[in-house]
Subunit: 208 residues, 2 copies
DNA sequence: GAAAAAGATTGAATGAGTTCATTTTTTAAG
DNA sequence: CTTAAAAAATGAACTCATTCAATCTTTTTC
């Protein structure tokens, strides 16, 4: 059948992705030229474009791997969350934020976000948006779960509250990657303060 | 002193900005070449770069003017807001959203947002970020004002709540410009639903 | 196993944003 | 008014992402 050809293809794909992520981390996204990536991956420039539509695509591919890991880590927390809204949110959001800079630099995040906004119809942008949606769902699922357990007052729209928490943490993450000087702890503190009113109020009177 | 020189400078700057905004609106951001903008403004390509650091800068400059108008329109509402949190928010956010597409296309918004995220250190990006901050302050000011009037329960962190409302409306606006098919009404409905839990709860028991 | 077909690779050419050494214009000094 | 200094404009050259016609490799056919 397609023994050699398929094997070579998979191998080249792996080499290109590895070369690109290495160079992006080493020298930054802008400074890494397609020529450099191609050379490191031992393919021609043309071949790079047979595997990825454009330079941004390969970055979003790298980001996708990262977000998948964050989702997996978050899943564990959602499956067995702390009892109160505040504690549960702090655990989940802390997990998200702590994981965010393991593989990717702030510059890489900025570029990936910029691409996903600017070219929303490109395949990888759609994938990025889909991953964002799954993260949002995860926060909403957490709220729904807490509501079933009595940690959130009945009658509250738990999904809407979850979306609001997510949009807030996401927007603040954008602020964070825009500011090279901002520390993770500062980000967490700010989001914690912003979330507190809603987190406290939906928990019901017993928390007051 | 610096009579002629300053006058010519201001004039060229105005011509370049006008040429760029016209062409961006007429043919889209990507299709408008620096050469076209320079030609229309009757300057050389090099001169364009003496006035703006790069192509994106001038778009962000145009968008910033738009945000200034939105801020001015919002100010009127904040000065004399509806009594309830829900109504006041609906009025202010509706004003923001309705104004957003008067001069700018979704493509222009996408590009401007992408640039302001990707190149946060460029002067116009800083300006854009600062304007975002003022919009956020405007929402917080509205909440503080409502709290003084009794529309928001005492003891609530009105500023934090305002920031959360703003981050939510801002994130949803990004979703809106990413999706060419989404209508303004859909956006308003979604944001309205997301805001409802917090808006209702901070209003206190009388609203229930 | 040779020839044809299909699938991939290649790198020079293209095009648009950006730079920078040179030239031109304006201002200040004598 | 002349000349020197400062500021600004200029456009050809450069960089780098992207394309595509030519070439090479693998698979299929007989």
């Amino acid at each position: 059948m397609t023994g050699l050809r398929a094997k070579q293809k998979a191998d080249r794909n792996r080499r290109i992705l590895e070369a690109a992520t290495t160079l992006f981390r080493e020298m930054g996204y802008d400074a890494a030229r397609i020529e450099d990536i191609a050379e490191r991956a031992e393919v021609s420039v043309g071949t790079f474009y047979n595997y990825y539509q454009n330079k941004g695509d390969i970055l979003v591919a790298a980001v996708s791997m990262e977000v998948e890991e964050v989702l997996a880590a978050g899943k564990i927390i959602v499956e067995n969350p702390p009892a109160t809204v505040s504690e549960a949110l702090q655990a989940l959001i802390g997990q998200y934020y702590d994981h965010s800079l393991v593989y990717l630099s702030k510059e890489m995040w900025r570029t990936a976000m910029a691409i996903s906004i600017q070219q929303p119809e490109s395949p990888f942008s759609k994938r990025y948006t889909e991953l964002d949606g799954r993260l949002c769902d995860q926060v909403s699922t957490l709220m729904t779960k807490l509501q079933l357990r009595g940690g959130v007052m009945p009658g509250i729209d738990a999904v809407a509250a979850g979306q609001m928490f997510f949009n807030n943490l996401n927007m603040m993450f954008i602020e964070f990657v825009k500011d090279e000087a901002m520390e993770l702890d500062t980000l967490k503190d700010m989001v914690g303060r912003q979330n507190r009113p809603l987190a406290t109020l939906i928990s019901g009177p017993k928390i007051q």
